[in-house]
Amino acid sequence: MNTAIDLMNGAMMLSFVILGLSQLMAMVRLVIGPDTGDRILALDTMVINAIGLIVLLGIAQGTQVYFEVTLIIAMLGFVSTVAYARFVLRGDIIE
Amino acid sequence: MTKVLNWLFPHPLMTVILAVVWVMLQNKVSAGMVVFGLILGIIIPRATAVWWPDRPKAIVTAKFVVYCIIVVWDIIVANIEVAWIVLTKPNSKLRPIWVEVPLDLRQPEAITLLAGTITLTPGTVSADLSNEGRSLLVHALDAADADAVRDEIKHRYERRLKEIFE
């Protein structure tokens, strides 16, 4: 049992590192572009990775309190991606 | 009797889904929450029924469940394939192509489901619909033959969706 828990904690630390790394790589894509579509995609990926980081925080602390945060960030991320894309496509968000 | 039931439950599947989502948001099952979820599940479809008059009248639920299982399985298997392609294939060896899928489906709900399925099963992203809605534009990450991709989509997903929304 104890080895299993140690392994799980190790995997958790590794996941934190990898998610941080993914955020950095998405940031690279956000900076170098080259087009608007890539920037929207990079921002969308960053939102999804942020959800992952919050979920991991919840696992690490062993609480359920971050559930609502995850849900709301998922909704906000989706809406902002769509709003950004619609603005580029139509020049307006709500017609 | 059926008239009353139809008026009360314009969308029975949505009633069930809303009740289940409500109970899951509470994260514990109690009789009070189930009843309240059912109340929400009756009020919300009734109140919004006016805005979607053309909703599909009935879907074949058993076939829909089978379809969902197939899609989940495909997502898992194909994700591993795409991960392998992304990690091992150099950019110059990738063969991205556009595929045009002629649509037999007519209902917007069915086309939306098909487009979502195509995007979630990796290797393909649905990008656009033609202006009259008769074909779907799909981008394939690495495929030798556009016709093979088109035939697989038509055979594996569209045929099943046609049976569900018959």
């Binding site: 049992m1 299993a4 828990i5 799980m8 995997a11 958790m12 996941s15 998610l19 790589m25 998405a26 087009d35 579509g37 929207i40 995609l41 969308d44 990926t45 999804i48 990775n49 959800i51 992952g52 979920v55 919840g58 696992i59 359920q64 995850t70 849900l71 998922a74 989706f78 991606t81 894309a85 580029v88 496509l89 020049g91 | 997502i75 994700n79 991960a83 992304v86 990690l87 950019n91 991205p96 556009w98 045009e100 002629p102 487009a115 195509i118 995007t119 979630l120 992203v125 649905s126 990008a127 656009d128 619909l129 033609s130 202006n131 009259e132 008769r134 074909s135 534009l137 981008h139 990450l141």
Partner: protein, 133 residues
């Protein structure tokens, strides 16, 4: 005891799967060289990766002896919305003509994103599209 041990191992496995897929998504986002191929990696691999993390969170709650299922809601939401955002980003790429353009459809006149009014067509077919972004 066995249920808890099983939950711990399941969490371990799901965390590893999630880490691998999010890493693949990020690598794909940086490595691939065309806006449309870039769309393939993050929209799906990242969604599956976060899905695995959410399932890990669920099985971890079982390991702590306080089972919960509400992570499935976030999971369902992510899987429903991922194709829609991917579709919008693909439309943006088509609109800005940032990628190789597809042939016109066989059965209809043109793709709906490119279907702009006759008077605007000249501006829209320039390399970078209309100056909106």
């Amino acid at each position: 005891m066995t249920l808890e041990l099983f939950a711990v191992y399941a969490t371990l496995f799901l965390l590893s799967v999630g880490a691998v897929f999010t890493l693949v998504a990020a690598i794909g986002l940086v490595k691939l060289n065309d806006p449309m191929t870039r769309l393939h990696a993050p929209t799906k691999a990242a969604t599956v990766g976060i899905g695995a993390f959410l399932l890990a969170s669920m099985s971890h709650s079982f390991a702590l002896g306080q089972g919960s299922f509400h992570e499935l809601l976030v999971l369902a939401f992510l899987f429903v919305t991922a194709p829609i955002s991917a579709n919008f980003i693909a439309k943006v790429n088509l609109h800005k003509r940032a990628c190789d353009m597809p042939d016109a459809p066989k059965h209809d006149e043109m793709w709906s994103t490119l279907d702009v009014p006759e008077s605007d067509r000249k501006i829209a077919t320039e390399k970078n599209g209309p100056a909106t972004g």
